[in-house]
Amino acid sequence: MNRGFLETGIPKLDDILGGGIPMGKSLLYYIQPGVEGDVFGMQTMHYGLKSGMKIVYITTTSPPENVREDMLGLGFNFGVYNDGFSIVDAYSMLIGMNSEERYVVDDPESIESYDRVMEKVIEENDVIIFGSLSDIFDLCGEEEALEHIKRWTKDAFLRDVAIIANFTAWPYLPVVTEGVKDTFNVVVIIAGVAERVILGQYYSVIKMNSTKVEKKMLLFKIFRPGGVKAYIPKILVTGPYNAGKSTFVRSLSTRSVSVDRLGTTVALDHGYVEHEGVSAHIFGTPGQVRFDPILEKLGGEAVGVFLVVDSTDPKSFPRAKKMLELTRSRGLPCVLIANKQDLKDALSEEKVKEKIAFLNNIHIAPTVASTGKGVLNALEILIDDIMKL
């Protein structure tokens, strides 16, 4: 357990933050309305609980039992951390119900009522998660809430308590939205990729160590169970005929399907992989020349490429270069897969690199796709390149 940091548990975010949020600091998940961002706070809570921290979750608009249900639905079994997990119930009194939670806000429409609870909460816990800070703003008034959250983050800092907050960015006045962002040490924006309606979702760090930054957007999906996973919509696997592309796709994928005839791909291979918090769809092309007319379509919208070559067949290497052009994949993050390394005539990684020097600065990964050797390593290299931090 690292008491110095709270890991967020959000894929790649901890790498960007240098390990997580230092204790005493604060992180804001700044969420566009309509984007399912509240899971981020829950996932961070789960990671904190796993590392043995005492964590309290403040619920303002859902009954505590719904919070627990939501966590279980995400696969976060809070039950095993009984002593470490508690809820501030700022909902029940709002609808005139009693609460049996350890902390209860008597009047959720009064910021003073929160204040009375927060003193104890900061004193008794390592991490405080606001399920929805914007709801407190709506219920108690924006100016008053902002003033108090500033004070709570200061108090938390003095006691080495980390504060994490989900905040739905409704169209508040800029003085409110900017004021909230200024209050937190780290701000992660969670927004939608929209084409008339939100089709995809991404997160991106816009403030770190109290300084404005612009980090790469990372697409994500929410899995139940599973929580937030970084998402790569399309990775292309291409290369000459008989290089082992279909075997590579199968070996890499959690599940896969191939459209083939007598063992040769005649349309495409498709696979899906989940690895270390990242999920990706893999599309494999056929390698025979007669399928060249469809390669451009198959390559469309790919965000990364595996170029697979047979390490025993250097004569096919120029064809590999040609396929990269046909799929219009030049310039995308690319890993050269030097496959069939188990065969006795296989060229070494260095020799393959030497002979394929026409592809400058390309990553190379030796693999034996038939056994899976080196395949996940290749995936990690490509993911790092796609999500270059």
Binding site: P33, G34, T61, L94, L139
Partner: protein, 187 residues
């Protein structure tokens, strides 16, 4: 603002004549709301459109159609879980997520089936969201503004139903949000 005072029958004609991308505030009290909503939804589904219906009183509607999505608002947690999405009437973030999910599904289905892309969003009713004090009123108005923009972007029709029994100032504030849109008072 385009303002009409219409009876129940004139209302149908007026709504059918609306340009896509219009937001309509329907002000009424003690009228045959459920008959009207049921008819409006069925008409939309009949012409292959899609409807997202946000309601605080769903039990009277029995519509089974995959181009119909319903979000139930509750003031106190429901005793039993239902198939439709449920959210607390004050959890407007969650309501927004559910609306977005339904709209996305409808858009994808329509693209896949190459059918018409007409979508309607009905919020029934705004009164139930004004559950608390004036601060929450601002939250509801922000919520309405966000979804009016979504309706415009989608070239949809947005129907926002409100009972006239709200305090004058609150009703005036809501009407003001629709100053560039259509307001209909049912008489």
């Amino acid at each position: 603002m385009i303002y009409h005072e219409l009876d129940r029958h004139q209302l149908d004609d007026e709504l059918h004549a609306l340009a896509r991308g219009t937001n309509v505030l329907l002000i009424a009290y003690d009228w045959e709301k459920y008959g009207f909503i049921d008819g409006f939804i069925r008409d939309s589904l009949r012409v292959k459109g899609g409807v997202v219906y946000v309601t605080d009183y769903p039990s009277r509607l029995k519509i089974t159609n995959r181009r119909f999505g319903m979000i139930e608002l509750f003031r106190t947690p429901p005793m039993e879980r239902t198939d439709s999405k449920t959210a607390s009437v004050i959890n407007l973030s969650k309501v927004s997520v559910y609306i977005r999910d339904n709209l996305r599904k409808l858009m994808r289905d329509q693209l896949r089936e190459s059918k018409g892309s007409e979508i309607d969003l009905i919020i029934d009713n705004i009164n139930s969201m004004f559950h608390h004090d004036s601060y929450l009123k601002n939250a509801v108005i922000r919520f309405i503004r966000v979804h009016m923009h979504v309706v415009k972007t989608l070239n949809a029709i947005g129907l926002y139903i409100i009972d006239e029994k709200l305090p004058d100032k609150t009703l005036d504030d809501v009407i003001d949000v629709f100053r560039d849109e259509v307001v209909i008072r049912i008489i």
